[in-house]
């Protein structure tokens, strides 16, 4: 994991350079993570223009407030993806896009249902990550997928799955913990073993 470790860790030096107003450092952060930041926003929002807006906001924020990234808490990629996800979910929950989403979902229901399984299989996630996801108990996996990729709150997930809210809340947390343990076992824990 030495090579991955170095690449992950040099993100810290990158953010240091961003904080010193080196635009090339922001360009390097964008080169490394811009595609993933955009792809995640695009997956949630299903609209290119909105995903571009999210991507732009995420990198502008990194430029203006680089100190919000704390390398002790995870990689730069993890930070930027969390920013992208949060911003995309905000947009998704705003009034207009809620309406748009409902229309889209109505359409998809008519076409045979919302196929979250297919969405996940589309992902170019590493084999380990996919295996780890496969090993989750189906209830945990479905709750996580609906929340993360569907942009639903746990209450909405509960309603969708016709399960108690408390159960869904616990399943999301338990599933994430299980995945973390499996990822560390699979040697993808570089991010954690650094600290």
């Amino acid at each position: 994991m030495a090579i991955d470790g170095l690449q992950e860790a040099s993100d810290g030096a990158l953010v240091l350079a961003i904080a010193r107003y080196h635009q090339e450092a922001l360009a390097e952060a964008y080169r490394r993570h811009g595609g993933a930041v955009f792809a995640l926003a695009r997956r949630l929002l299903a609209e290119q223009a909105l995903a571009e807006e999210v991507t732009q906001e995420v990198f502008l924020r990194l430029w203006q407030q680089p100190d919000r990234f704390d390398p002790e808490r995870g990689s730069l990629r993890s930070y930027l993806l969390a920013q992208s996800h949060g911003r995309a979910v905000d947009m998704l929950r705003s009034e207009t896009s809620r309406r748009r989403r409902e229309e889209r979902e109505a359409r998809e229901t008519a076409e045979g249902g919302y196929d979250i399984e297919r969405e996940v299989l589309d992902l170019a996630i590493g084999e380990h990550v996919k295996e780890v996801l496969d090993r989750l108990p189906p209830d945990e996996r479905r709750a996580i997928e609906l929340a993360y990729f569907g942009g639903l709150t746990y209450r909405e997930v509960a309603a969708r799955l016709e399960q108690p809210e408390g159960t869904v809340k616990s399943r999301i947390r338990a599933g994430l913990k299980r995945m973390r343990a499996d990822l560390v076992d699979a040697g993808i824990g570089g991010v954690w073993s650094e600290s």
Binding site: A2, I3, G5, L6, A9, S10, G12, A13, L14, V15, L16, A17, R20, Y21, Q23, E24, L26, A27, E28, Y30, G34, G35, A36, V37, F38, A39, L40, R42, Q48, E52, Q56, F59, L60, Q64, P66, D67, R73, G74, S75, R77, S78, A82, L123, A124, I125, G126, V129, Y148, F149, L152, Y154, K169, I172, R173, L176, K177, M179, R180, L183, W192
Partner: protein, 251 residues
């Protein structure tokens, strides 16, 4: 949700919170708890790392998006763009004047250098933020270079005209001191490569006029460092001849 959450109530919500799957009022209550609870903060960080693996779909951002982002940087607050440009030697003398206080701070800074969250004591607080950051970096690099446990790698060009130095501290922080490299045109950048296990691994894009840069390194298999001249923005891999190159002296 006006009342404060108990630890257990907050903890139950952390998974959903990390996936942005809570209502706005719950989010506020959890964040209030997180301010006071390092254990819950650590758990959220772990959940976010897991979810980032799920979200790492890769793919390409649309062409032209970076140009729009770079264009909008011009609208950043003016004080951000007015970092005083001070020659390295002058800056070093500033750090030296601060003396023992800065050296003590620098020890802490080395630990914190992964990010630019550099908090110096009030003694050096008079400087503007960018300058303070630079001075902290310089103090840390200066301190590292003075430490007998630091391993130094001297890099030279083949004709011996150009030189740069790398200092590797035992905690995994490296400093590149490259103030003698000539400035490149704006469309070029220097890039630092760690040579390890027969491969060149990018350790950072340095900009057209690097002075002192901090980076993290993994000691295993490390055999040396090289700096190349690349197109602005840097490259994933390079076949360009190094501008300067140095190998690790095993002791």
């Amino acid at each position: 949700m006006e009342r404060e959450l108990t630890h257990d109530e907050a903890a139950e919500l952390l998974g959903a919170y990390a996936l942005d799957a809570v209502e706005a009022d719950e989010r506020d209550a959890i964040e209030h708890h997180l301010n006071e609870c390092p254990r819950c903060r650590a758990e959220v960080a772990d959940h976010r790392t897991v979810s980032s693996f799920l979200g790492s779909a890769g793919g390409r951002a649309p062409d032209g998006l970076w140009d729009r982002i770079a264009g909008s940087l011009e609208e950043a607050p003016p004080e951000l763009k007015l970092a005083p440009v001070v020659p390295l030697n002058e800056r070093r003398s500033v750090s030296m004047r601060v003396g023992a206080a800065a050296a003590a701070v620098a020890a802490g800074v080395i630990a914190a250098l992964g990010a630019q969250v550099v908090h110096l004591n009030n003694e050096v607080d008079k400087m503007s933020t960018p300058e303070r950051a630079d001075s902290a970096l310089l103090s840390a690099a200066t301190h590292a270079l003075a430490d007998p446990q630091t391993q130094r790698v001297s890099m030279r060009s083949t004709d011996g005209q150009l030189a740069a130095e790398v200092a590797l501290t035992p905690d995994g922080t490296g400093f590149l001191v490259a103030d003698k490299l000539p400035a490149l045109p704006n469309d070029r950048t220097y890039q630092l490569w760690a040579l390890a296990n027969g491969q060149k691994i990018s350790a950072g894009v340095l900009g057209a006029q690097p002075r002192v840069v901090a980076f993290r390194y993994a000691p295993s298999g490390l055999s040396g460092f090289a700096v190349t001249n690349e197109q602005a923005g840097g490259v994933v891999s390079t076949e360009n001849a190094p501008v300067v190159l140095g190998t690790l002296q095993r002791t």
